[in-house]
């Protein structure tokens, strides 16, 4: 029997038991621990307006031995699948990889911590965070109080992943929409998995929480003191890098050994020790490895290069693979005596997998200290670079393979003449893939030459601070939902940028305009890799608070769950809507009332696919960079034609709002210039008050004029409901324009919701607070 006394099905009864339904912190909503069909109607409603838009990478499918199957011109594969459904299946697979990566990462950390601290270790995120796990509470229906509770949530995620992956097998699901619904499901689970991982990290490693002003740490390869032994940690899972720091602290070596990081492990390690340094995002990995500055490279998981052992061997860096996700074919030395491993690494230059973090840390420090004094570490001088560049015949083979089609040969030719300007500009756009150098018939060491040109400058990054505080949510809940804070911009994801400076420019543009800017992952690093005319990075220029004009580094990839979590907390804490097992109500609230827009400008990985798609299910639109067209799928509306009807929950009437707010859920922009007004537009919500709408439109128009051209945005009329929505500065011009095109004012909507416009178990009452 449930708390309400209704008879439950056996399945629900089991769920109630797992989520401890008897603890009455909130009533249990309609979908605790949802399975594939449970939120399908919500998905279908979203997909009706934001239809999947497919961009097939190739015309074939080669998933099974019936293939390859030609899927062009309406042909179906031998299993019956069509091109759209095949794309959707591919997207689901990508989202599952992403979700699994984070969930398994969470699982590893949890296991490590439970062994150390026990199942009953309490979760405490500090004075200002009571709603510690908004995603887990909403999706799972469980309020996690201990590490053991996190495990219950994680087991649910693992089970769902299995069902979802099953559906990708040949000859099953035949609907692209159903695959998309499954991708949305997988990606919602990703946010649960990320939340589990980061809460475990915060609790287990004592990362900062309930604080905004976290330390500023050094960033850039210029910040690394090459004269000391250097340990490079690379990847996402800090289980080992934090132990390295512990070892150094215990042995009083913290000031004698440099610990620096690439990708999210760098961000995580700085959350543990502000003495650790950030080299940069993944796009700088190969540059840094080839420089040979690292004495020991420790890899963990996700987005570490697969050729790390080979690249390290070339420059004499030692390698330890610390996690089972990537063992590189190396001998597993977990059981071998520490001194023997050190000896073999130093004397024979052997590389090992060591899956015991305490042992790996000790070996890393000892090896680094032994080999560092014997290694020569230095950058190429400009003169040497000029000499090497003279080997270039400008054959353009490098340009052919560059994913950005750079005229890199041209850059090298200029260097040969002693001019580094072009190559300095090219490195900002280079994603560090190494394809150019691999292709060069004359063996020009392109990377070394580019390194010389690359900035030795150092920058500042603010340490990731974890969840947004409940107190902050209380302060900004009203202005965000009314629209007077024009939006929350979440810059997330990897470093496959058209230009590395774009992210800092976006942060600056929106922070200056008093949006709230939050960042995670590689985006959080590169935001700090540009200085203004006063020599300040955005982290030094703007306050670290989740408030208008704040620039907040939330943390690593897994910290993305705190951004979705913040959106949920606005519904839960500010609007007082119950969240427990109540996903549809939360997502509906966010879609209609919380002006938040994700920007994954350099999205590259499968994890970025699931992070973004998870935001989409929660009603958060995401703007992607041009490379992301290679994810194969967007969610686009057609503003003039689509269904923009909502229920006005106060009047109980279905109203056609006409306004495409938000217009798209997953959108690719070709340039930063286009992205700027698009991001502002995607923060528009139906709930905006006239005052809030006028502020949002003011930014939309002014960004359009700044980056696109003169005049007014072509679709402006769709977002003006009444005269009061028109921003003051543009009043005259907009009024004249509206009159010219025959615009008519529209009735205001009391309480916009999609609940009631599609078949769902959720009653309209549930959205009224």
């Amino acid at each position: 029997m449930s708390a309400t006394g209704k008879k439950l099905s056996q399945k629900l009864e089991e769920i109630y038991e797992r989520i401890k339904a008897e603890i009455p912190w909130e009533p249990v909503g309609p979908t605790p621990m949802p399975e594939i069909p449970d939120l399908r109607q919500w998905d279908m409603r979203l997909l009706k307006t934001y239809a999947p838009f497919y961009m097939p990478f190739c015309d074939l499918c080669c998933f099974c031995t019936y293939g390859k199957c030609d899927l062009t011109e309406g042909r179906r594969g031998a299993c019956g699948i069509d091109i759209a459904t095949q794309q959707a299946r591919f997207v689901l697979l990508a989202c599952l990889m992403g979700c699994s990566a984070h969930a398994a990462h969470g699982g590893h950390i949890l296991e490590f911590l439970i062994e150390k601290r026990g199942l009953d270790k309490k979760i405490d995120l500090g004075t200002f965070i009571e709603v510690e796990a908004p995603n887990i509470r909403t999706v799972v229906g469980l309020k996690p109080e201990t590490l053991g509770d996190l495990q219950i949530a994680l087991e649910y995620v693992f089970k769902e992943i299995t069902h979802l992956l099953d559906s990708c097998h040949t000859g099953q699901e035949g609907s692209a929409l159903d695959y998309e619904s499954k991708a949305l499901h997988a990606s919602m689970l990703d946010h649960v998995g990320m939340e589990i991982a980061d809460i475990a990290q915060i609790v287990g490693f004592g990362f900062p929480a309930s604080v905004a002003e976290t330390p500023l740490v050094d960033m850039g390869w210029g910040a690394i003191d090459k004269s000391k032994p250097v340990i490079l940690v690379s990847g996402h899972n800090p289980a080992t890098s934090t132990v390295v720091i512990d070892y150094l602290r215990e042995h009083n070596l913290e000031d004698q050994v440099e610990v620096c990081g690439l990708c999210c492990t760098a961000l995580e390690t700085t959350r543990y020790s502000s003495k650790a340094k950030i080299v940069g995002p993944l796009s700088r990995a190969l540059f840094f490895m080839r420089a040979g500055i690292a004495d020991v490279i420790m890899t963990d998981e996700q987005c570490i290069r697969t050729d790390t052992p080979q690249e390290a061997a070339k420059v004499g860096s030692a390698v330890i693979a610390c996690l089972d996700k990537a063992m590189y074919g190396l001998e597993d030395a977990t059981e071998i005596d520490t001194d023997e491993i050190v000896r073999r690494m130093v004397d024979n230059k052997e590389q090992f997998a060591i899956l015991d973090s305490i042992k790996a840390a000790e070996v890393a420090v000892k090896v680094a200290m032994e080999i560092a004094p014997q290694r020569k570490k230095g950058w190429l001088t400009e003169e040497e670079a000029i000499e090497l560049a003279k080997k270039c015949t400008n054959c353009k083979m490098c340009e052919q393979v560059c994913p950005n089609l750079f005229n890199i040969g041209g850059g090298i030719t200029e260097v040969a003449k002693g001019d580094f300007d072009l190559i300095r500009q090219q490195i900002l756009q280079c994603i560090g893939c190494g394809k150019c150098e691999q292709e060069c018939p004359n063996n020009v060491p392109i990377f070394k030459i580019m390194q010389t040109a690359a900035s030795m400058e150092t920058w500042k990054c603010r340490t990731g601070r974890g969840p947004v505080m409940d107190t902050e949510i209380r302060n900004v809940g009203a202005p965000i939902t009314l629209g007077t804070i024009p939006g929350v911009i979440a810059l997330v994801g990897c470093s496959n940028y058209p230009d590395i400076d774009d992210v800092a420019d976006m942060v600056d543009e929106f922070a200056k305009r008093k949006y709230i800017v939050v960042l995670t992952g590689c985006a959080a690093m590169v935001a700090g890799m540009k200085k203004d005319k006063d020599g300040l990075t955005v982290y030094e220029k703007y306050p670290p608070d989740f408030a208008a004009g704040g620039v907040v580094n939330i943390g690593s990839c897994v910290s993305n769950a705190h951004i979705s979590g913040a959106a949920i907390k606005i519904a839960n804490i500010f609007a007082a809507l119950p969240l427990r097992g109540n996903y549809e109500v939360m997502a509906d609230y966010v879609l209609n009332r919380v002006g938040v827009c994700g920007v994954a400008w350099g999205a590259m990985s499968q994890k970025a696919a699931s992070i973004g798609t998870g935001f989409n299910r929660l009603g958060v639109p995401v703007v992607l960079g041009p490379h992301s067209s290679k994810y194969r799928r967007l969610f686009l509306s057609r503003k003039e034609e689509d269904d923009w009807k909502v229920m006005d929950a106060r009047k109980r009437e279905i109203v056609d709002t006409v306004e495409p707010a938000p217009e798209h859920l997953a959108y690719v922009c070709e340039t930063k210039e286009k992205a700027m007004p698009m991001i502002a537009k995607l923060c528009i919500r139906r709930n905006d008050t006239p005052q809030g709408r006028a502020i949002k439109l003011n930014h939309y128009i002014s960004l359009y004029r700044k980056y696109i051209g003169p005049g007014l945005p072509e679709d402006l009329h769709l977002f003006v409901r009444r005269d009061a929505d028109i921003p003051l500065v543009y009043k005259k011009e907009v009024r004249a324009h509206l009159q010219e095109i025959g615009w008519q004012p529209r009735e205001p909507i009391g309480l916009p919701t999609l609940i009631g416009t599609y078949p769902t178990k959720v009653p309209v009452d549930a959205v009224i607070h």
């Binding site: 838009f53 497919y54 961009m55 097939p56 990478f57 190739c58 015309d59 074939l60 030609d70 899927l71 062009t72 011109e73 309406g74 091109i83 759209a84 353009k396 052919q400 393979v401 560059c402 994913p403 089609l405 394809k435 058209p498 041009p626 490379h627 067209s629 290679k630 194969r632 967007l634 686009l636 057609r638 959108y667 690719v668 922009c669 070709e670 340039t671 210039e673 286009k674 698009m678 980056y707 696109i708 051209g709 003169p710 005049g711 072509e714």
Partner: protein, 183 residues
């Protein structure tokens, strides 16, 4: 069909249905002239100038003018088009215009019916090729063509990979001349 290795060799798996390579400007001009309702989709790469100092965008505007083709200005190209004294017939982003083109009942930018030939010019190669793939698979009612200096496998008709920019420019100039001839 001859198999062509695209200039942009990274990340391309042309599959089996790749673009017909056209090197003759007269043939390209004929294809354009034959179309009843062509559309020229222009992208931000046209804001760069070519070796002779002429803005690439000017080639696009010349082509549109001589062949009387409506323009769709994507990304931030509108600003420069207007600056050059031309009012673009439509302003959509590339994925938006492709989304509309997919619908056979869409009336087109001139409101007289969907387009039968869509010419891409100045869109980044990765985004351009992916967008052309969408049209190839989901817009069988129209044909696509590119004017950029790289081969685009997902188009119906594409230029080859030009090793030298001047050769490409020559092609564009000849194309304009050929289009002018018939008009």
């Amino acid at each position: 069909m001859s198999s062509v290795i695209p200039r942009h060799r990274v990340n391309v798996l042309t599959g089996i249905k790749s673009a017909r390579l056209v090197e003759d400007p007269a043939e390209y001009a004929n294809l354009i002239k034959k179309a009843k309702r062509p559309l020229l989709v222009i992208g931000p790469l046209l804001l760069e100038s070519s070796p002779d100092g002429k803005l690439l965008l000017e080639y696009a505007l010349d082509i549109a003018k001589v062949a009387n083709i409506p323009i769709c200005a994507t990304a931030q190209t509108k600003g420069k088009v207007v600056e050059l004294g031309v009012k673009p017939d439509s302003v959509y982003d590339v994925v938006e215009i492709v989304n509309a083109l997919k619908d056979p009942d869409w009336p087109g930018v001139k409101k007289v019916g969907n387009h039968d030939l869509v010419i891409f010019f100045g869109i980044r190669s990765d985004l351009g090729n992916q967008s052309l793939s969408t049209l190839k698979h989901f817009a069988p009612h129209l044909k696509t063509m590119t004017l950029c200096k790289h081969y685009f496998p997902h188009a119906n008709y594409s230029l080859p990979n030009f090793k030298k920019d001047v050769k490409w420019q020559e092609f564009l100039e000849n194309l304009v001349a050929n289009l002018e001839k018939g008009s």
